[in-house]
């Protein structure tokens, strides 16, 4: 029934129905509204909420900013942090602080010469290899590296041994390349070190670079004949001079140090391990240059003589110097004819022609005590050594440095002489003589003086080794 009615509904009726239905439903809730409810101060609330939102946004922006700063800061921190320090000592001492990416952060001169070297150079931010190249260039320009007798000490300081050794080989090869380009030869000592306080103190005390201090300390520890007192003597020397001392006295270089010699020939790597090779090398060169020397094959003999005692010396009482048997000993190139001693003057006559450059000498007795000695006249087949404080009747060993055969590499020559028993060379009859082996550089000579036991007591005079030495 109702449905029928609905069917007839038109729009107006529907509207009316809806109106009356709602009218019936509409409640009166006014009484139920508690008007005592406090009104909210929306306006004030809205502001803070706006600010709150702003604050959140500002916070987010700040957080982003912080993240960026942190990332960037960390990045730049990593780049501005000193990762390794590379010390280069010739005489000028320079320290390069590099970051992880091997970029130079700071180039610091350790001594006055170093300042000269670094003058007008801005190495900051430069790649390490470029900096090393520039340094070597500057060393050459300022005359610290010349045609002969160069020694460079490279010290790499890094906490990571792996990194240090890779850096070390990189720097050494850089130096080698640069030297090669400039056609220079140099002995390159390289070492990697860890910072130690006592070495630092040592460096401060003698006002030398950390690397040099470390090198000398190692040298002293390795060689029993050296003591910390020698430090005083060694510290002011240039690396070239130190290298010479090492060569002359045949000191063992610290195990942590490598030595490489930049020459046209093969490179020596480690002094301690390359005796054979060095000797061989020399032998080769000598046979080339002095074909007359028939004793090239006596290399082994040299060895034994050098390392063993030296019986020939003691046997030779005669004033005639040239006992050929002894001279056989003399190696290939530089042969000593005979040695005379007369009142503080040792006269050495060579069989072969020699050349001199910055000659040095050291005189020791069998106990290893060193005596004040000085090179006097030098000639192509002769030289004089002034020496003081010797006693009579004792056998002494001298080592000449800065000497080279007429054509050949610079080397050292070792010989033996004996002072006359009567007085201090008052008598004319010089005894000593006969020399022996000229020995090649570092190799064996170290042991020789120690084994040459002589009975007489020596007055140990503080060793003054290189008085005759003129630096360049």
């Amino acid at each position: 029934m109702a449905l029928d009615k609905h069917k007839q509904l038109n729009r107006q009726q529907i509207e009316a129905c809806l109106k009356s239905a709602t009218d019936d439903l509409i409640p009166n809730v006014l009484d139920r509204i508690d008007l005592n409810t406090p009104q909210i101060m929306e306006k004030k609330d809205s502001r803070p909420s706006f600010f709150k939102r702003q604050r959140v946004i500002a916070g987010l922006i700040a957080a982003c900013f912080c993240m960026i700063m942190l990332a960037g800061g960390n990045y730049s921190f990593q780049n501005s942090r000193v990762d390794s320090v590379i010390g280069i000592d010739v005489n000028p001492s320079v320290e390069l602080s590099v970051n992880k990416k091997n970029r130079v952060l700071k180039a610091e001169a350790v001594n006055q010469d170093g300042k000269t070297i670094l003058q007008d150079m801005d190495l900051e931010g430069v790649d390490l290899n470029v900096a090393v190249n520039a340094l070597i260039g500057s060393l050459v320009t300022h005359g610290f590296l010349d045609d002969l007798d160069n020694a460079i000490l490279v010290t790499v300081s890094n906490d990571s041994i792996k990194k240090a050794s890779s850096l070390r080989s990189a720097v050494v090869s850089d130096i080698r390349t640069t030297l090669g380009e400039k056609r220079l030869k140099a002995v390159v000592y390289d070492q990697q070190v860890i910072e130690e306080d006592d070495v630092k103190q040592l460096a401060d005390q003698y006002d030398i670079s950390y690397g040099k201090a470390y090198f000398l300390k190692e040298l002293i520890t390795q060689n029993s004949s050296l003591s910390m007192e020698d430090m005083e003597e060694l510290a002011p020397l240039t690396m070239e001079e130190i290298a010479k001392v090492i060569t002359e006295r045949a000191y063992a270089v610290g195990a942590k140090t490598k030595v490489s010699e930049e020459t046209a020939e093969e490179t020596k790597t480690s002094i301690q391990t390359t005796e054979e090779t060095t000797t061989k090398k020399e032998t080769e060169s000598v046979t080339e240059t002095i074909p007359e020397s028939t004793t090239a094959e006596t290399q082994s003999q040299v060895h034994t003589d050098a390392s063993g005692t030296q019986p020939p010396a003691s046997s030779a009482e005669t004033t005639t110097a040239v006992t050929s048997s002894e001279d056989v000993v003399s190696t290939e190139k530089i042969k000593i004819d005979y040695v005379d001693y007369e009142s503080g003057l040792v006269m050495v006559h060579f069989k072969t022609k020699v050349k001199w450059k910055n000659p040095t000498v050291s005189v020791k007795d069998g106990d290893g005590n060193t005596f004040s000695s000085k090179i006097g006249d030098t000639d192509s087949d002769y030289c004089e050594i002034n020496v003081t404080g010797l006693e009579g009747g004792v056998e002494y060993t001298f080592v000449l440095g800065g000497i080279s055969p007429k054509s050949g590499k610079q080397t050292t020559v070792k010989g033996v002489f004996e002072t006359p028993v009567i007085g201090d060379g008052v008598a004319d009859d010089t005894e000593s003589e006969e020399t022996e082996e000229t020995e090649q550089t570092e190799t064996t000579s170290n042991k020789a003086p120690e084994t040459e036991a002589t009975t007489a007591e020596q007055k140990p005079v503080e060793s003054v080794i290189q008085e005759g030495h003129t630096v360049k």
Partner: protein, 192 residues
């Protein structure tokens, strides 16, 4: 006394003449009388609007109460834009949706409730069976936006222009929506 009576009469007269906008401003100042006047002016509209969304007369009543309480408490946050109803509708719509969320009621479920167990109650309030039938039909077959337009026009007696302004829709949209909805309703009721 007469003077007092005149004064009070005059005062009442004042409020009844005020626009919703002005009343709302007074409400914001804590004027209870203005609130009562506002209630009387708008309760039908608000109820129709709420019912069009919530479709459940009892829930609509509950929400109506909440809406007016909210209007009372939040009147200060009303920024005068000449559309007080739009603001009130926003409050109502938010509370309705909140109600949906609270009860996890879907609009369809509400409809089932309406036509089911609670139909009796709904019916009890509507005297005429025809009115009830039409209302239930409108609530069941029309979409929410259609219901809003239809109920606001028919039940609340608002003009299409006012509806459009309050719902923030173009007048043409309001009109076409109303016509479409009424046609739907006519067809539906004819079939039944």
């Amino acid at each position: 006394m007469l003077f007092m009576g005149l004064m009070s009469f005059g005062g009442v007269d004042d409020y009844s003449r005020l626009s919703d906008e002005a009343l709302l401003k007074k409400v914001a100042e804590g004027d209870q009388e203005a609130f009562q006047q506002l209630y009387q002016n708008t309760d039908r509209t608000m109820y129709s609007f709420i019912l069009s969304i919530i479709k459940h007369p009892q829930d609509a009543e509950e929400i109506l109460q909440e809406v007016y309480l909210k209007i009372w408490t939040s009147a200060k946050s009303y920024k005068s834009q000449g559309k007080p109803l739009a603001w009130m509708f926003t409050i109502a719509r938010n509370l309705c949706y909140m109600k949906f969320r609270e009860q996890k009621h879907d609009s369809d479920i509400t409809l089932e409730d309406l036509s089911g167990t609670e139909t009796g109650e709904v019916c009890s309030e509507i005297e005429m069976a025809a009115d009830k039938m039409v209302l239930l039909a409108a609530l069941s077959i029309l979409k929410e936006d259609e219901r809003e337009v239809v109920l606001l026009h028919t039940s609340a007696g608002m003009k299409h222009r006012e509806i459009a302004a309050s719902l923030k829709i173009p007048l043409a949209t309001a009109l076409s929506r109303y016509n479409r909805a009424m046609k739907k309703l006519e067809n539906y009721l004819r079939e039944e």
